[in-house]
Amino acid sequence: MRLLSRQNIVCQQWTELITDYLEGALPRGLVRAIDRHLAACPHCTEYLAQMRRTIAITGHIDGQIKGEPPPAPVPADMMDALQRAFDDFHHSPDA
């Protein structure tokens, strides 16, 4: 375990481990190795910042996914049709 706790990672490995790191899915020894690498490597620290920005920007596409205004409230005719289906189901003899 002592050897494991001194394991090292390099930049290219970090770019494949980053999601597991952010998800908290990595063993403790590997998290320590990554934190040591990040403390010494400004490029990998920037990569982490880029990934966090990517996630934040993706969160902003909410409601604009088709490049159109956010969806309007449920149209009355659709709502009425759905409610008829709901009422029919509950009032039909074999419901």
Binding site: G24, V31, M51, G59
Partner: protein, 246 residues
């Protein structure tokens, strides 16, 4: 094929735990954000009872609350708004018919979304349009997060030769410009289907990983691989907009 998922996965028993080492105690969490497991289902028993009893007001409330997110999700996977509306309509019909079989082990929203996913997948196969699937966004297992030619050193263990640019110094108005948002929207639409579902639910709809696994029928491990490929592809595309090498 039954559209209504039954039985639901039990969110109290997350899959894929055995292959992972035990999680470290909380004070070991230095950098990474520790995400909670599956969200415990809220107490919706009264609402579900009303739906089962045929209470139209409860039904209208649920449709009103979920419709925007369902339309947005469906719209990402089918070729037109019209088909997206069809998918959502069919989802509600399946919900009406299947609510008696809903066991409330997940939230109502997760269950409804699972039905939507199944219907959208079926439609997607039927109406498959020709999606230009560039090699950049392929689902291949050898797809690297960052092109290997950006590194020097042994294969897979290189150090940065062309390090990432400093986006951290960019002003918000550049980062969140409409050009940036459009690029992300276009890229999300081009992601392979599984990656797209995971990215949409995790990073757009802000779901927990446990809920995404439950809705899509994925293990935690598979979900992370799909999330990793999707996010990495998005980051790579954003380099074109926000700056590549420093």
């Amino acid at each position: 094929m039954s559209i209504v998922p039954t039985p639901e996965p039990n969110p109290m028993v997350p899959p894929m735990r055995s292959s992972l080492p035990p999680p470290p105690p909380p004070d070991e969490a230095l950098g990474p954000l520790r995400l909670p497991g599956p969200t415990p289902p809220p107490d919706e028993s009264e609402l579900v009872d009303r739906l089962r009893r045929g209470d139209s007001t409860a039904f209208r409330d649920v449709v009103t609350a979920y419709q925007p997110a369902l339309l947005r999700l469906a719209g990402t996977f089918v070729p037109s708004n019209a088909v997206a509306e069809e998918v959502v309509q069919e989802t509600w019909i399946a919900v009406i018919r299947g609510i008696d079989r809903f066991e409330q082990r997940s939230s109502l929203k997760t269950w409804v979304t699972r039905i939507l996913v199944n219907i959208a997948r079926t439609k997607g196969v039927k109406e498959r349009r020709t999606v230009p699937m560039g090699s950049l966004l392929s689902d291949a297992a050898d797809n690297a997060a960052v092109s290997p030619d950006r590194f020097v050193g042994p294969p897979g263990k290189g150090a940065w030769a062309q390090p990432p640019a400093r986006w951290s110094e960019l002003p918000e108005e550049v980062v969140l410009s409409s050009a940036t948002i459009s690029l992300v929207i276009d890229t999300v639409r081009l992601l392979p289907e599984q990656q797209k579902w995971v990215v949409m639910l995790r990073d757009v709809e802000d779901w927990s990983s446990g809920d995404v696994c439950a809705a899509l029928g994925l293990t935690e491990g598979n979900q992370r691989v799909l999330l990793h490929r999707g996010r990495s592809a998005l980051r790579a595309m954003l380099e074109g907009q926000l700056g590549r090498a420093s």
